[in-house]
Amino acid sequence: MVPTGSVPCDEHGQKLTLANHEARAIADGLQADFMLSSKPGPTGYPDEYSKVTAYARIIADQAQAIDRSVTPTPGAAWQEVPDDTPFAYRDTATSRAGLTAINRRYRGHRIAIIGLGGTGSYILDQIAKTEVDTILLIDGDTFDNHNAFRAPGAPTLDTLRSRLNKAAYFASIYSNMHRGVTAYEQYLDEGNLAVLSGSTFVFIASDDAAGKPVIMDWLEAHGIPFIDVGVGIEETDGRLGGLLRVTTSLPGRREQARQRIPIPAPERDDYGRNIQTADLNALNAMLAVIRWKRHIGIYADATDEGFTTYSLITNEIANEDLP
């Protein structure tokens, strides 16, 4: 079903100026040869129906000037296209931008996010906008006031008062958009790691260094790639400085990654301050998500680094542990 055609013309055979020759993949097996562009004014059309019927009329009117019996709506050719995306509503910009085929490559991916704090919640904010099959959110903590200041969105006070589990809170918000989001309202330990079974990629955004080794052991044993993120912000002389860290652990490069992930350590008073700010959480999350998209081939990649740091005071990104 590949529609092909010549340039749309007026009744005298002059090419219509609204049609630009531009081949685009609309979907698998469906290719367009032209893009039409004709806006009635600065505000465009009032709705999609008006737009489509207006374009149909512009082309059909010319044909009907020659043969009054032709019609753009013969009726018999109507075909329902099943909407098989994981989204609750359509991404109307994707087909226009010619990204349908690329976005389809997210299919089959099953993502788990361990820890829905500052960085984990921003990771979710981005993953939820991709066509991955499922997104599993894992956290045993409650969503409190201070979390709201390190998370995307703006929850109401009533929402905070209901003291929802973090995973459940974010699942309720993001399932508005992505149908594959589920919550697991527990911390992970030796007894429940099987919840990660079937994951194709895992983001570890937990500040519990002591809980990580058993998780990382399991992921390595099951051949599942993962990214571990960390934020190290400290106040010195009244200003904040520090590092963001993204460690990527891929099969065959596990030991290298282990050395880049903090070991469990005894409590220290000033470590308990755990300074985080929403913008740095978000940047760390974006670095992690972009690294994942380069790994799965959505974004081109020429680096394949295992370790990235962003230094705040110098505004610089360093890539290390190249293959």
């Binding site: 010195t236 002389d237 400085g241 350590a265 740091t309």
Partner: protein, 63 residues
């Protein structure tokens, strides 16, 4: 690291936003951690990431 330096001695090294005079062109991982957290238990017990700019090969981490 080469000993030919172009800047004045002592060099100024900025660790966790604070400038320190440093009388050498070389510094070790442990020395940086000691500048950042003087007198505190450090390397071996905790994990530190020492990231530098304008050093050997530009920017990287020290190990």
């Amino acid at each position: 690291m080469s000993q030919d330096d172009h800047g004045p001695r002592p060099v100024t090294i900025i660790v966790n936003t604070r400038p320190y005079p440093w009388d050498s062109k070389d510094i070790t991982f442990e020395q940086v951690v000691e500048l950042a957290y003087p007198g505190e238990p450090g390397v071996g017990q905790y994990t530190f990431t020492v990231r530098y700019s304008r050093g050997p090969d530009g920017l990287s981490t020290l190990r």
